[in-house]
């Protein structure tokens, strides 16, 4: 894999004309909500950009995120991106294996030290000093620390890398943690979701590679352009919520009429993601549109936040406490009333009838 040539030269070798390249930049600008004129600026920048190296380290992950990125609904763009970057290490996609794969990894790290993008997929096991999850005899913990040293930026892909994910669910046997819990000194972009929306992954990569900048992040390290609004804010069923028209079960008349799924545990109001607008599977639909409540997969600890089917505003069950509290309250009250009656009785019996003289001090 030659690293020296620029992206444009690479494209031409693949028989891609300049106009195709401009068209591609135009659609990328539109994806990232940049003005059309930016397309030409991008064409220049991308054309001259060195093809950066990208290292993809999989830790405690289910390969759901990899599946998601290869399903990106505009494969041509995704294909171009893979052309743009030199993906030097991706266990699922690369042909090499065993020692060769390891050597490729270390070679890439050494050669592009300080310039490559590190994509982490899966949470990092810290239990037993990381022994729960190793690759080629080395714990994920060590590989992460080593790889992170030379990384220009880290992209934590999916809820596992961003917030610990399902492995971190109570009781968290492997001591799974998020990447940001380990690496503190590198810019980290969290792209949570289980899996995250494909186009978001390509969008963030494209922005980093064309402008070398990371998107504006919210305080959970997520790109604001994508995670700025809750599903609830953008949900097309919102009018039903406002009028209190809720589906009670998954097959009742309300559900069939596409009423709000608030009562069936939808976590839309507390989940920040772009599912309601960019949707899934080539903009076909998203969980709520297919009749199931949002499970809040882009929020930290969504796996431990009560059942997926317990409605947000339904408290645990204070009635269980109410009975005992009421009895206890009554008991205290009765006790005090006896004490009061005794005191009042004593005062009454000690009553000395006031006489005229008693009025004088």
């Amino acid at each position: 894999m030659e690293h020296g040539d620029t992206l444009q030269e690479r494209m031409e070798q693949n028989g891609m004309s300049r106009r195709t390249f401009i068209k591609y930049c135009a659609s990328l600008a539109s994806l990232m909500a940049l003005p059309p004129s930016a397309a030409y600026a991008m064409a220049e920048a991308l054309g001259k950009a060195k093809r950066p190296s990208v290292i993809w380290l999989p830790f405690q992950e289910c390969t759901g995120c990899t599946e998601s990125i290869t399903r990106s609904h505009s494969p041509s763009i995704e294909g171009m991106i893979f052309d743009m970057i030199s993906l030097d290490y991706q266990e699922t996609l690369m042909a090499a294996a065993g020692h060769q794969a390891e050597e490729a990894l270390h070679a890439a790290m050494k050669e592009n030290y300080g310039k490559y993008v590190l994509i982490i997929d899966g949470s990092v096991a810290t239990g037993l000093d990381g022994a729960y999850s190793c690759i080629a005899g080395r714990t994920n913990l060590e590989s992460l620390k080593e790889a992170a040293k030379g990384a220009a930026a880290i992209i934590a892909l999916g809820s596992c890398a961003s917030y610990g994910g399902i492995p971190k669910a109570n009781p968290n046997p492997t001591g799974a943690v998020a990447v940001s819990d380990i690496i503190k000194d590198k810019p980290i972009v969290n792209i949570p979701g289980c899996p995250p929306i494909p186009v978001v992954i390509t969008g963030v990569l494209a922005q980093f590679l064309t402008f070398g900048t990371l998107p504006e992040l919210d305080k959970l390290g997520r790109p604001k352009a994508v995670y700025g609004e809750t599903i609830h804010d953008r949900c097309y069923r919102r009018p039903f919520y406002d009028q209190g028209k809720f589906a009670k079960t998954f097959d009742d008349e309300g559900a069939r009429n596409g009423w709000c799924l608030f009562e069936l545990g939808c976590k839309g109001p507390v989940t920040y993601n772009a599912c309601a607008t960019s949707k899934w599977n080539d903009s076909t639909s998203f969980p709520i549109e297919s009749g199931h409540g949002c499970i809040g997969c882009s929020e930290p600890d969504f796996w431990d936040a009560g059942g997926f089917y317990k409605a947000l505003s339904m408290p645990a069950d204070p009635l269980k406490v109410a009975a005992t509290a009421a009895v206890a309250g009554a008991a205290v009250g009765v006790a005090v009333s006896f004490a009061n009656r005794a005191k009042k009785g004593a005062a009454k019996s000690a009553h000395e009838t006031t006489t005229l003289e008693d009025l004088e001090k």
């Binding site: 106009r19 539109s30 909500a33 505009s74």
Partner: protein, 140 residues
């Protein structure tokens, strides 16, 4: 009396109501045409980043109408660029290898920028033409 229950809700999905965005685009196009004429500035509007419903788009296309020129570009998928009823205003639709729309613009320019060949390509074209001629008459 009608309670809140039986107020019929007609969910005008985002795709079937005129949102008024299209009108705004039209006024923007007029402004861009003025700048083209007065200051020779070329510019374009990205329709995909605007929340236009299909009805909006149809309305806009009806307003812009058709001109005399239709340019077909085959590069990484088909792209169609038609001149609207107002010369200098072009309606551009790019499609990718799978014939999926990847970008839609309204470009206000003398000729859509993508149509003009790149200087480098013209030079390369010239050299390859010369080679072809050399092949025939062994160089000039």
């Amino acid at each position: 009396m009608s309670t809140i229950e039986n107020i019929s809700i007609s969910i005008a999905g985002p795709d079937d109501m005129l949102t008024g965005q299209a009108e705004a685009v039209l006024t923007e196009v007029a402004e861009m045409l003025r700048r083209l004429i007065e200051q020779n500035i070329e510019d374009s509007i990205d329709l995909r980043s605007l929340p236009l419903s299909t009805v909006d788009r149809k309305w806009l296309d009806r307003q812009l109408g058709h001109g005399e020129v239709e340019i077909l570009l085959e590069a990484g998928g088909r792209s169609v660029m038609t001149e609207t009823a107002y010369p200098g205003v072009w309606r551009i639709t790019h499609r990718d290898g799978q014939d999926r729309v990847v970008a839609e613009f309204v470009e206000v320019a003398w000729v859509p920028n993508i149509v003009k060949p790149d200087a480098g390509d013209v030079k390369k074209g010239y050299e390859s033409l010369l080679l072809k001629l050399d092949g025939k008459s062994a160089g000039a």
